[in-house]
Amino acid sequence: MEHIRTTKVEQVKLLDRFSTSNKSLTGTLYLTATHLLFIDSHQKETWILHHHIASVEKLALTTSGCPLVIQCKNFRIVHFIVPRERDCHDIYNSLLQLSKQAKYEDLYAFSYNPKQNDSERLQGWQVIDLAEEYKRMGVPNSHWQLSDANREYKICETYPRELYVPQIASKPIIVGSSKFRSKGRFPVLSYYHQDKEAAICRCSQPLSGFSARCLEDEHLLQAISKANPVNRYMYVMDTRPKLNAMANRAAGKGYENEDNYSNIRFQFVGIENIHVMRSSLQKLLEVSGTKGLSVNDFYSGLESSGWLRHIKAVMDAAIFLAKAIMVENASVLVHCSDGWDRTSQVCSLGSLLLDSYYRTIKGFMVRIYSLVLSGGVRCGHLDGDPKEVSPVFTQFLECVWHLTEQFPQAFEFNEEFLLQIHEHIHSCQFGNFLGNCQKEREELKLKEKTYSLWPFLLEDQKKYINPLYSFKSQRFTVLEPNTVSFNFKFWRNMYHQFDRTLHPRQSVFNIIMNMNEQNKQLQKDIQDLESKIKQRKNKQTDGVLTKELLHSVCPESPTLKTSLRFKEQTLLPVNDALRTIEGSSPADNRYSEYAEEFSKPEPAVVSLEYGVARMTC
């Protein structure tokens, strides 16, 4: 609280992000310990969590006041104009402090209190259980065992305690290998394909330099290939571009020499590093945020940002991985440099292609949890080196979204679920994504001090269900996406999720979702009605009923009441469908630069016509 000097500023203007004529809403800005809140004159609220703020910028003073531009990690961009420079300065300084915390303990998760007791909180953390997950995958078994080598984080600080390695890999081999791998991240199991008895393993780059070898490492890789009873050779996938990997050799790192390892096939897949990805995303956002953007600028910007090229590269790598297992029945070892960003991405996406369990709501949570434990989500929650922040997780979600576009019935969850998860990656409201590895997470006592996101999402599950999901009992139905370039599209609902005017005004998904829900209710109604009718008929045939008895049953039966009320409800989808049209107005869409010639104020007309419209948030 010591950072907050001003808690309330009136007469602040919120500019329309895309308006070329400085259209704005006037309202009051509030600063709380956790949020920045703007309430406009229509009482519409805009909440911005301090942790979501990626950057705050104070622009040069204008005649109408002092502009303050806030960019958020969930891609919201707000542009305020604060009448007095002094207020603007205070808010600016406060936000700078509040948005960048130096200590984990200052993050929202440690103060967030959803009114649950300790046991409820603990239960929440137990929703996702990795031991259960390994059991589901079918390990341990005769080829794979749980290793206690890293139980005390002695071999590798950034790995979890529980690691699965080949049955025949002894501890000295593991220790030896870990010394030959960057940051000690030796090859471990990431996913086991029970049907094919093939494994996806992960590690970091070898410290091979130009010629160094490590017998233990070679043994460990051999052990992995031997753990596959069907195919004795394995793939080693280096997810980096070859040039990057070669440059690493000069620093004593590098990649595996095929000659030194028996039975490996080495392959580069060319995914760029996080620095390239970060600046690519930055470019993408710059382009899509341009006022009065032309179609040509949009597409040339999309091209030069390289973003979709990177998405395609990740997808292609995952497909390569899945094919190695499905077609060749080979195990695959994946690594990049340190083995967290690209490696986690590719392993996760690959297993999602292979195993339909990860396409369910619960399964996806499990996959994300293991992604977190393997260090695949480093989002820079603390004020630190911005160079280590990576959009890898955003990319992973985008790849999944592309899959949902190509396979609309293969996923139990919908786009909203992906967006919600993305929102909380950065919100720091829940403990799930804090800390970079299990050790750090334990030291932070996250399970005691913070809440888990998953039970909250599960509670709201209805919102995240894909109504078109077709449940296939077969666990191993492989997705084979087509990665021809035209199948990749700009993810508008992610990068413009707060720019309502850019989206379709009616959502097919919502309507089908509501209808699905309604169908369930109707089925129940039919049952109720049928049993009531049966009851009636029985009574009529009995014919011995007394009047009192009849009275007590028939007049105000609760089921009938609900079904009558339901009759009104059946009209709801129509209104729901129209709900969003209210956002549709010519003023929002800037068809004309002749706006000034049109004298009437637009919004008043809009709200009149759509008198039925409700507030949406």
């Binding site: 895309f18 899509s288 953007l293 032309s294 179609v295 040509n296 949009f298 597409y299 040339s300 999309l302 091209e303 979709l308 090229r309 190509q406 396979f407 019935q409 293969a410 109504p467 078109l468 077709s470 087509n482 021809v484 370039s485 035209f486 599209k489 005017t501 850019l502 379709p504 005004r505 009616q506 959502s507 097919v508 209808m515 309604q518 169908n519 109707l522 039919i526 009605l529 049928e530 009718i533 009636r536 009529q540 009047k547 009849l550 469908a577 049209i581 549709s584 107005s585 010519p586 929002d588 869409n589 068809y591 004309s592 002749y594 010639e597 049109f598 009437k600 637009e602 016509e609 759509y610």
Partner: protein
């Protein structure tokens, strides 16, 4: 020139529609499904300011107009003849759309033939002003840039001088025509057909085709027109050069935005009949070869396809506001380019009369408007609404029409299955609702029976 025209007519009579023998029973003859008189009734029921004129009965005043047009009541046929002399191709201003909500109208015409010395036509000025209410102003939307419009004066064309039309304000919106559009289509189709393109190349080819730029220009202009009518309460006149291409794109799209009826199957068919076929869009010239022609076709241009694409964009944004689905649009695209039906043959009504299409060929509408066909083209999500629908024209909101351009380049199996599943859910919902209603009635009957037994 006449010879040339006749030879095209001759070759047309050798085309498939003249030999096609339908294997279905005609329920309603599509040639008589959308008569101008009937269409006029929709407007005459609301206002008496307009009348039907038969001045073009013999196609003498304007060869590209139909025999019957709607004009202001106060303007007689003699004046129309004079105005026709002052407008490109004889296309004097006629009514395109009457907005019942506020009585504002969309008119369309050819460019005024002002030439370099600023010719005037009193009757033209009178006609246009006749559509304005006292003290009201109107907008003239010229679908050419100011530059192009100015250049047109050298060839005898031009635009309305504000000095002579003081109650009107001119807005120039540039929409491309002819070979520029055709090249755009060819480039786009080329880009879509090459599967091996890497991401950068695909995106740059997509950009270089300019297709979506054209979509954005057309949609923006249509939205602007609709905005004038519905929000500014101002009538508009739309024209480009000849008034048979971009003009029709704008007038028809503005109606899609403004008028709920034009978003129904029947209303959309009527719109195509009125604003494209009768309004004289030269289908024969524009849709001869589509994207795959090696020789340069001078008159070829995907004007109608662009219109359909724009409708698809609006349909994407308002998926519940249209009675028809994407297949309906795809179907229209196919028939405009190659069809067993006579509907899209010829360049205007005059040619169609000469070809005796009504007698010799089958109308597309006769085939489409049968229940078995309609069921495939109906949007299961349709819920009629009376609102004006304002689409977003931001580049992020516009998409490549995959159903047309990527149709043969990818499998749509999973998308089709998902669509079917969606239809199933909706059908099931209807079924359940019907059942609940029956049961409810049954229960109510039982209850009244019981009540009667009780009362004595």
């Amino acid at each position: 020139q006449l010879e040339c025209a006749l030879s095209t007519l001759d070759s047309i009579t050798l085309m498939y529609p003249f030999f096609y023998r339908p294997m279905f029973e005609v329920v309603e003859d599509g040639w008589h499904a959308f008569l101008p008189e009937q269409e006029f009734e929709l407007c005459s029921s609301a206002t008496s300011e307009w009348r039907l004129s038969y001045v073009n009965k013999e196609f003498a005043v304007c060869p590209s107009y139909p025999p019957i047009v709607i004009v202001p009541k106060s303007i007689d046929d003699e004046a129309l003849r004079k105005v026709a002399m002052f407008r490109h191709g004889g296309r004097f201003p006629v009514l395109s759309y009457y907005h019942k909500k506020n009585g504002m109208v969309i008119m369309r015409s050819g460019q005024p033939l002002t030439g370099t010395n600023g010719r005037r036509c009193k009757e033209d000025e009178k006609l246009i002003n006749a559509t304005l209410r006292a003290g009201k102003r109107g907008y003239i939307i010229d679908t050419r840039s100011l530059n192009v419009a100015q250049q047109a004066r050298a060839k005898g064309g031009g635009f309305e001088q504000e000095a002579h039309y003081p109650q009107w304000r001119r807005i120039h919106k540039s929409i491309e025509r002819y070979h520029i559009l055709q090249e755009s289509l060819i480039k786009l189709v080329e880009a879509c057909n090459e599967q091996a393109h890497n991401m950068d190349r695909w995106l740059s080819k997509l950009e270089a085709s300019n297709w979506l730029t054209h979509i954005k220009e057309i949609l923006t202009t249509a939205c602007l027109a609709a905005q004038c009518i519905d929000r500014e309460g101002a009538s508009i006149l739309i024209h480009g050069t000849e008034g048979i291409d971009s003009t029709l794109q704008v007038t028809s799209l503005a109606q899609i935005i403004l008028e709920p009826r034009s978003r129904t199957i029947r209303g959309f068919e009527a719109l195509i009949e009125r604003e494209w076929l009768q309004a004289g869009h030269p289908f024969q010239q524009r849709c001869a070869q589509s994207a795959y022609c090696n020789s340069k076709q001078k008159w070829e241009a995907p004007v109608f396809l662009l219109f359909l694409d724009c409708v698809w964009q609006i349909l994407r944004q308002f998926p519940c506001s249209f009675e028809f689905n994407e297949r309906f649009l795809t179907m229209l695209f196919e028939h405009a380019y190659a069809s067993q039906f006579g509907t899209f043959l010829g360049n205007n009504e005059s040619e169609r009369c000469k070809l005796k299409l009504q007698q010799k060929t089958m109308s597309l509408w006769s085939w489409v408007n049968r229940p078995s066909e309609l069921s495939k083209l109906t949007n299961p999500l349709f819920e009629a609404n009376n609102l004006v629908i304002w689409p977003s024209v931001a580049p992020q909101s516009l998409q490549l029409w995959e159903g047309i351009f990527l149709r043969w380049n990818r499998t749509s199996k999973y998308l089709d299955e998902a669509y079917e599943e969606m239809v199933n859910i909706i059908e099931y919902n209807k079924e359940l609702q019907a059942k609940v209603n029956i049961l409810r009635r049954q229960l109510a009957e039982l209850e009244t029976e019981d009540g009667m037994q009780e009362s004595p």
